[in-house]
């Protein structure tokens, strides 16, 4: 592919996305400056940008950012391993699927973050409380999407495997699992979003740990630009994890 063609295909969407973001921020800036949006609720985007330096230097953002990242990473690895394994189990054991699938789906909409006192009792005021709440809350989408991917594999691909006399194990690992990977990754990404929301939320609630605690502290000081700057770092964690999973998916299942 030539350089101009590559720019058209990859560069233009990025430039367009950034332009849209800047345009939205500019509109908000104008609306806040003219008090159409209450400046006591929404700070000026320019003030948020200017507060980044202060938040980075004075609020120890790097260790907090790394702490939230490590909590999110631990929860993501746990929910990927456990969630995918449970999805596979539900696919292989029909009786288990019939017995628990509805319960798993119901669990997906349960506000588990509200039982954080129970987790505090179990794990103490530590990172493990935050990780475990995130893990449990984010598990259902991974299980359900894994199950959906495996049950939705195209029958003709399974018939190809059968025609080549694949063993059940080969059929699973060579055909069913790769065929299910796009769905599995949708589940993992959803799970990671749920996990990150819960991590930051519980950090905020128990005033412990990384970015959530920082958002809490800045909000209590009524430092609105700083609060929004800290929220930007939460978004950065989400973006980094999203890019990471996309890379892993492309590596595991090229050609999509």
């Amino acid at each position: 592919m030539s350089a101009p063609a590559r720019f058209l295909r990859q560069g233009v969407p990025i430039v367009f996305g950034i332009t849209c973001l800047l345009a939205v921020l500019a509109v908000i800036e104008v609306l806040v400056r003219f008090s159409i949006i209450n400046p006591f609720i929404v700070p000026l985007p320019s003030d948020v940008v200017l507060s980044f330096r202060r938040v980075i230097l004075e609020e120890h953002i790097v260790p907090r950012f790394l702490l939230t990242c490590s909590e999110a990473l631990t929860a993501s690895v746990m929910l990927s391993v456990v969630g995918i394994s449970l999805g596979v189990l539900l696919h292989r054991k029909k009786i288990v699927r019939l017995a628990v699938e509805t319960w798993v789906a119901a669990l997906a909409s349960a506000p588990l973050v509200l039982v954080y006192p129970l987790f505090l009792v179990l794990f103490g005021r530590s990172a493990w409380t935050i990780i475990m709440i995130a893990f449990v809350s984010a598990l259902p989408p991974v299980i359900l999407k894994t199950l959906e991917g495996l049950t939705g594999a195209r029958p003709v691909l399974i018939n190809v495997g059968r025609s080549f006399k694949l063993t059940p194990s080969q059929l699973y690992w060579k055909i069913l699992f790769p065929a299910a990977l796009p769905n599995i990754f949708v589940g993992v990404r959803l799970g990671m979003i749920f996990a990150l929301i819960n991590i930051v939320g519980v950090e905020f609630l128990i005033n412990f740990g990384g970015l959530g605690q920082l958002v809490n502290e800045l909000a209590e000081r009524y430092d609105l630009p700083g609060t929004y700057a800290a929220i930007c770092f939460v978004i950065l964690v989400s973006v980094l994890f999203f890019i990471g999973t996309e890379r892993i998916e492309r590596w595991l299942r090229p050609g999509s």
Partner: protein, 275 residues
């Protein structure tokens, strides 16, 4: 085994399915043989049990009455001697062309260098040289079907079993791919069994054509196609080709009409039922 012995023998196959309306006999006492190197087609209207027969011979259905023999050996279930090409697009989207074609060789544990060399040969055979590192999503429907064909051929089956492999393609691509199939079949002397509902395709490719009746699927007639070989798609313009098509259509028209009437009656009954 004597040279004249059939490589495939299908004997008295009967397959019934349990349905909501009772037991449905999809295939009823179908018997035929295919000789080594022969191109044999089974043609019939929709619902005559062609695909059921495909699955029985390929071993994907193993509960039926009757017997399937390959090279004198009775087979039930998938068998290495029978390579299947499916109607639906069946390449693995996560594998490149070369890795798709090498798949059956990987399964039998062939060393990587050897299997890639073999796979390259079959990619070349189906005319896809230069596309080895492409993914199926980067290929046309016809190219993807050729990848499936190369993958099945790479397993070197005694019998190539194809279920309407070009059904999803346009007529021109279908004719050109027919040329490719003929060339491969002639080069490899590959015994081929084609299941189709396409008259032109069947006459263009086959040495013999078995015409099936509409439900239950029985053998109506076997027609010898005495068109000269080697053939190409140019033969579709000949008078002799037209005569064969007309002759087989005479047999099929009655069955296809029965099928259509049956479908309409079933839909009318379904419409008359209370919701």
């Amino acid at each position: 085994m004597a040279a004249a012995d059939p490589i495939l023998s299908v004997e008295n196959i009967v397959k019934r399915f349990e349905t909501q309306d009772g037991v449905l006999t999809a295939v009823d006492d179908v018997s035929f043989t295919v000789n080594p190197g022969e191109f044999f087609s089974v043609i019939g209207p929709s619902g005559c049990g062609k695909s059921t027969l495909f699955n029985v011979i390929g071993g994907l259905i193993d509960t039926y009455d009757g017997r399937v023999q390959v090279g004198g050996e009775t087979v039930r279930g998938p068998h290495a001697s029978v390579g299947m090409i499916f109607q639906e697009e069946s390449t693995f989207p996560w594998r490149t062309v070369i890795d798709n074609v090498a798949f059956p060789l990987e399964i039998v544990g062939m060393p990587k260098a050897e299997r890639l060399e073999r796979a390259t040969h079959f990619v070349d055979l189906v005319g896809l040289s230069g596309f080895e590192r492409r993914y199926p999503s980067e290929l046309s429907g016809g190219m993807r079907q050729r990848v499936s064909m190369a993958r099945t051929l790479a397993s070197e089956p005694k019998i190539l079993l194809m279920d309407e492999p070009f059904a999803a393609l346009d007529e021109q691509t279908r004719l050109l791919l027919g040329d490719k199939v003929l060339q491969i079949q002639q080069d490899l002397k590959q015994t081929t069994l084609l299941i189709t509902h396409n008259l032109t395709e069947a006459v263009q490719l086959s040495d013999r054509i078995l015409v099936m009746t509409y439900r239950p699927g029985k053998v109506k007639r076997v027609v010898d196609i005495k068109l000269p070989r080697p053939r190409s798609s140019e033969i579709v313009g000949s008078d002799e080709f037209g005569r064969y098509v007309a002759q087989i259509w005479n047999d099929l028209r009655e069955e296809a009409t029965r099928g259509m009437n049956d479908d309409e009656a079933r839909m009318a009954r379904a419409g008359a039922r209370p919701p």
